[in-house]
């Protein structure tokens, strides 16, 4: 069953995409809605400099990296050093 230490079981990349695309899409929409919600709320300007919002923006930049290791990098971003 094991192909290599890094492959997701027996799934091909296309099968992984088929399996997880809708879930990933839903989470992206949810995140977009969460950011909109913050912007709509009273005091939204005051939280623009909140470190947690910066974490989200930094995480989004990590997602755009072309190489694996994104989940670990995002976790490290949210970790106490």
């Amino acid at each position: 069953m094991q192909k290599s230490q890094t492959s997701p079981g027996d799934l091909t990349a296309a099968e992984v995409l088929d399996t997880y695309f809708l879930e990933a899409r839903a989470r992206l929409i949810e995140l977009a809605a969460t950011l909109d919600r913050i912007d709509r709320a009273a005091g939204s300007q005051a939280v623009q400099s909140d470190a947690r919002l910066q974490f989200i923006q930094d995480s989004l930049r990590i997602l755009q990296r072309p190489q694996p290791g994104r989940a670990k990098a995002v976790q490290e971003l949210y970790s106490l050093k």
């Binding site: 809708l22 879930e23 839903a26 929409i29 949810e30 809605a33 969460t34 909109d36 919600r37 709509r40």
Partner: protein, 284 residues
Amino acid sequence: MFFIDPHIHMVSRTTADYEMLALSGVVAVSEPAFWAGFDRSPAGFVDYFRQLTEFEPRRAAQFGIQHYSWICLNPKEAQDLGKAREVLAEIPKFLSCPSVLGIGEIGLNKNTPNEAKVFQQHVQIAIDAASQGPSGAKHALILIHTPHLEDKLKGTRMILEMLRDFGSAIDPARVLIDHVEEHTIELVKDAGYWAGMTIYPISKATPARAVDMIEMYGPQRLCVNAAADWGISDPLNTHRTMLEAQRRGHRLPELLQVFHNNPAEFFGQNPKFTVQPIKVQLLP
């Protein structure tokens, strides 16, 4: 808290679900005709319409829930125009059943020309029902399914355009367009139609996003449903949306408007629907 679930497919649910809905404050459900997971024969549709109009109201009544239904050939089976012709011929006789509120859920699935043709034929049946129905000269109520995922925006635009082509024969106040999301709700509400939001966390809306839309576009002419069926779905997602709204500080009158009174107002345009809107008042 009292609820009306404006869109749920109880034929796919257990009797225990009826009990759970009753225990959680649901006083009425509305069940549009839909796809059973496989394509049926015209005779199979007649059996299904009988199940909707005879069996389900009795099953719901055991728990004090009023069961109403909508009759149509669902868009997923509208590709076969021959079958559509046979099924559509059966619809008018079911429209006069005591618990049938109108035509639905019609609409589009993959936005094909055949689906569009059958959609228009259904709308014409609703218009033709005006002279015979209990609503006098008004067309039968219409409940519309909008397509899923990447087909939704285009399909919603097509539906709005086709409805517009019927001119003054269609009253937007007697039409509910369902499964709206952030990119379609404005189109539907701005054109004067009722809008429905379905809480399917992966493929449609989540409770949080639905409450966002209530806040952004107003609670008027807006309903929330769980559209629970034979797939991965949960009849209590309507309730979870109410809890999310409550968590944000929305008060009882507004919650009642969205989760009870709005469906009561839309459905109540057909005199067969007897659940009255509720008003809460603080005692001195």
